[in-house]
Symmetry: C2
Subunit: 634 residues, 2 copies
């Protein structure tokens, strides 16, 4: 028998050698997601072998770097020799009150990455021969270097910053005029960001950065091959200064606090850069390009710009398309002369995260059918369009989807209820908490699951009122108010009963109504019905825990055939990566940002009507949700 | 009677009220130069009234700033009330072992400055109205700012550095969209280097900088009117690390020493910036453009570039045309986003000081007659040309012209012999030392005067040998060697006799031969005789003490009609100023730098012959110096 120790949840099981790792996990009561049914195709069952030995039939599409670090597909691996220590990353990802580092399997959808022929990074490395003496023209080192670059890359101006210029003389002579230049092409000019003697074209790195209001993710990219070497994410250090963009903007009113916010997000990024680079033996100065995507407020705060006017009418940010800035100017700890390329913003509430995210969709292609893109978070951003038009709008959903604004709400962390089933007969809940511990609260997904299931079981009416006419052990009525007891005092991890009020439910309904009505209104604006949409892309870190059926029952997502939905995960990070490795995607992104028409919802006369209609479960207009009608009748 | 106290030489005289100041000076034995004969036109007799009162008929072309500081023309001023304290700046300039600050009257030739209609500074200040909201196009602050700039200045790319961008939002709103932008136009782009709320177009400053191997000069320019507010110069702090460019290059072989040299010259420049700006109440951030001219080595050292390959065949500097650099990148303490524009270099030994200096001459105009430009210093740089061609060469003259390489040589400082007359009958000298004190050595000008007068008096033969056949109390013969006693022990300020050897004389002859033969060879190259030259420009700090007759007797300058010579003083500084206030001069300078053909003397077969012929007084070929022949026969 071999002992298998699943970490970090500390469940243990003894199995015979030869047992499948997935079976061992199930025996131990450890949840390992297998959406593909254990066929080795979805890559979702990745675990990491910390000790002991397994036999792997295949690694599927796991990147080489991950395999080298001990990652395997649980469904393709057999226990060989123990004691075996297996890290189950999903549980790890949700552990503790703080998000721990995640791997690219959650953040990046490999199927979305640019194809081989599109691989053409913003920063390229090229071996040049610069003759040591030349009699014609500018005989200086810089003159000859420029000529060499222009011979290869055309007549654009060649910019050589002072930091690089200081190494030119020695480097040109160290290997007889053979030099490797790292060059960034901005359309306007060719920027030489690094010079090395001899041929160094095989070591070439960039980073993709998603700067979220809550979470920052950094990805190390091998720019020689385009592969992602490592992805790490962490809370944005700014979180302590306010949970949403408005509170950050308020915090930034004093110049010293604006500087504090800049330093905080910079510290987060730099910490993550070290975390992705160090294990791969990559030095900061070897990283010569960064692509950063963030919403408009995050973009301003990272640049040290005054964010105030983002939230004040007429809503004019300082920048939408960020000018050329270097890592040194910005304070990002990579090669100081590197270009830090920002994804362009569209308006105050549609930022670079969206123009990056759109790169993961057909909205940037010449597809004729219309598609919808929904990024669900504290703010919802929605884009609809096809090759002929693109329209976007944004709405404030509030923090309910992240467990905020709910009396017993919490983040998707250890002890958070993430699944709730409801007994149709009694209305009693069966809850599942993250980590299998005593529940300490309920996260956004849990709330959505609870509301949808209460509704389907007939214990919640379409207006979000709990059933009062039938007695339920879980519903307590106190005068006009009713509450739902999710976990009684004696089984709660906090020592207090976990109770959901109708107000809590309303907060979720408001959030879903904001997003649904915004997308619905925008569709009307362009004369489309949800069923006209070929694909609906759902983005957001949230996206990966979202159950599509639940979302439709809630009336958050439109009731269309399920195969039309695509979860694109952290599309902002994936989009940043795509820009980093592809000039073509950068071009598309700028084009899309300029093409996008912004629909200001606050001045739309129909928005309040749409919103009010959407406050119901799933909607006042049941015809919009035929499949939900069918289920709730059961 | 009024007592007039001339400072700092401390000579005093009592004159009746109404006496001309120039007459008072002459009575007191104080030398005040009056090349125009006291007509109030040359501006050379400037003195400063420290106490008391004078009556000024006119201030000639003295800048207002100087008049405000008490400067007057001695030839146009009458003594009114005493006691009168008068500062005589030339004496001040030569006092002490260290150059003291000089004023623009020595450094800048006002007649050379750009005309009114050429006034068009590199950095301009312009008042813009940027509408606060705009519905079309990029609605961001940056977008609207760019549009405003492009409406006025055309479709060039508008660059806004992060440092400026951080002030855009608040500044745009402070005065209802009225903003003053400081913009630098580089041809490639429009760079916004400063933004201010409201109309600030009347305060606008730049600096012109001459970075010499020995001396650095900085000039504060009012860019609203183009006037020079102040000029200060000081020794280059690098002097302690070597006296000439070759020793600096050697010193810079270690990276830490290269960095030391960079810091030293930067410290000099920054110190002088403070000295020019503070008295005028100009803050560093109000200075938004700098134009720097220096020889190729000085340019490299200030930029922190490796200078090594300047002196090694095939003599390829890292840069000739310096890319766009900001004050912050360079470390110059003016507005950090300012452009520091460098005068372009032509080759290893023809630098930005020359391309700046040429702006003071007709060589950059479309004049048909050929002109010659000679910059005399440790290195000599020579340019010949007209509107159709331009050729340049450089030679090493050695330090003899600055008193170096001479046993009792010294700089033109207190106690330095600067004039020597020779009694034709006895060969005995009559010496004049700076400051009227006991002589302590002889400076370059003194050596030239000595040699020319010994030769004219018949006590030195054309080969530089002292007369041995006739006895002279001043010539001591010791075997084969002879020396000339300039000052006997008992009258010397050092307690030791000041003696000039034939070796010392030979060093001066070598220096003059290097320069004469270089210019002569270059003239031959282009098929011109000295008499074909319409104008001969003589530049160099040295230039102002140089006596033209002496220089011709020596055979340093060609024997052509005297009115063809023009002394252009510190032409490098004047040229820097001209670029600072004129786009047109910048354009001409770049064009001239590219047009200049460099003649490499070391590979010229005739150079040694020419040089050897020029080692004689005035030359082996006496036909070249008819006027000298006539005088020496007397």
């Amino acid at each position: 028998m071999v002992t298998v120790d699943f970490r970090p949840i500390a469940k243990r099981v003894d199995v015979p050698s030869g047992t499948g790792l997935l079976d061992a996990a199930r025996l131990a009561g450890v949840v390992v997601d297998t959406p593909c049914g254990g066929n080795g195709t979805c890559g979702k069952c990745v675990v990491r072998i910390l000790e002991g030995e397994v036999d792997c039939e295949s690694f599927g599409s796991l990147p080489e770097g991950m395999v080298a670090e001990g990652y395997v597909l649980a469904c393709r691996s057999k226990v060989v020799r123990g004691p075996l220590a297996v890290l189950v990353p999903e549980a790890e990802g949700r552990l503790g009150g703080k998000l721990v580092e995640e791997d690219e399997r959650y953040l990046v959808r490999h199927e979305l990455l640019p194809k081989q022929w599109e691989f053409d990074p913003l920063a390229i490395k090229w071996l040049f021969h610069v003759p040591l003496a030349r009699l014609e023209g500018d005989r200086s080192d810089l003159g000859r270097l420029r000529q060499a670059v222009q011979r290869e890359w055309g007549p654009s101006p060649v910019h050589v910053p002072l930091g690089v210029l200081r190494h030119v003389a020695e480097t040109l002579r160290e290997a007889g005029g053979q030099v490797t230049l790292t060059i960034v092409r901005t359309g306007e000019a060719l920027h030489v960001v690094r010079i090395e003697p001899g041929d160094h074209t095989t070591r070439h790195f960039g980073i993709a950065v998603d700067v979220g209001t809550t979470t920052v993710a950094v990805q190390l990219v091998n720019l020689t091959l385009g592969e992602v070497l490592s992805t790490r994410s962490d809370y944005n250090d700014q979180v302590e200064c306010g949970l949403d963009v408005i509170s950050r903007i308020n915090y930034a009113q004093r110049p010293d606090r604006r500087e504090e916010l800049r330093r905080r997000v910079l510290a987060t990024i730099n910490r993550l850069i070290e975390r992705v680079a160090k294990p791969h033996g990559v030095e900061p100065h070897e990283i010569t390009n960064a692509v950063v995507s963030g919403n408009t407020t995050m973009t301003h705060l990272l640049l040290g710009l005054v964010p105030e006017y983002i939230r004040l009418a007429p809503y004019t940010p300082t920048v939408l398309e960020v000018p050329y800035v270097t890592a040194a100017e910005l304070g990002v700890q990579i090669n100081p002369d590197s270009w830090v390329c920002f994804s362009p913003c569209v308006g105050s509430y549609v930022g670079g995260d969206i123009t990056a995210g759109l790169l993961c969709t057909d909205l940037v292609t010449d597809r004729e059918e219309a598609c919808l893109f929904i990024d669900i978070g504290t703010n919802g951003e929605i884009v609809v369009g096809n090759r002929d038009f693109l329209m976007t709008c944004a709405c404030s959903a509030g923090p309910a989807f992240e467990g905020g604004g709910i009396a017993c709400g919490m983040r998707a962390a250890l002890g958070a209820i993430e699944r709730v089933q409801v007994d149709p007969a009694t209305g009693a809940p069966i809850v599942t908490a993250i980590g299998g511990v005593a529940p300490r609260g309920i996260c956004g997904t849990g709330m959505m699951d609870l509301i949808a299931n209460l509704f389907l079981a007939g214990w919640l009416d379409p207006a979000g009122r709990l059933e009062r006419s039938r007695p339920s052990p879980s519903i307590r009525v106190d005068g006009k108010r009713a509450v739902y007891v999710l976990v009684p005092e004696e089984r709660s991890g906090t020592g207090q009963a976990l109770v959901v009020s109708e107000q809590d439910i309303e907060n979720v309904l408001r959030a879903k109504a904001a997003i649904y009505s915004a997308s619905s209104l925008m569709l009307e604006h362009v004369g489309l019905a949800p069923t006209d949409l070929a694909t609906i892309y759902v983005a957001g870190g949230f996206g990966r825990f979202l159950d599509i059926e639940t979302a439709i029952v809630l009336g958050l997502l439109p009731d269309v055939p399920r195969e039309r939905f695509r979860f694109v995960g952290n599309a902002s990070l994936t989009g940043s990566y795509m820009v980093c490795v592809s000039q073509e995607y950068r071009r598309r992104q700028l084009e899309v940002a300029r093409r996008l028409t912004y629909l200001e919802l606050s001045t739309e006369p129909n928005y309040m009507d749409q919103y009010t209609g959407a406050l119901f479960l799933p909607h006042t207009d049941l015809a919009r949700f035929p499949s939900v009608g069918a289920r709730s009748l059961k």
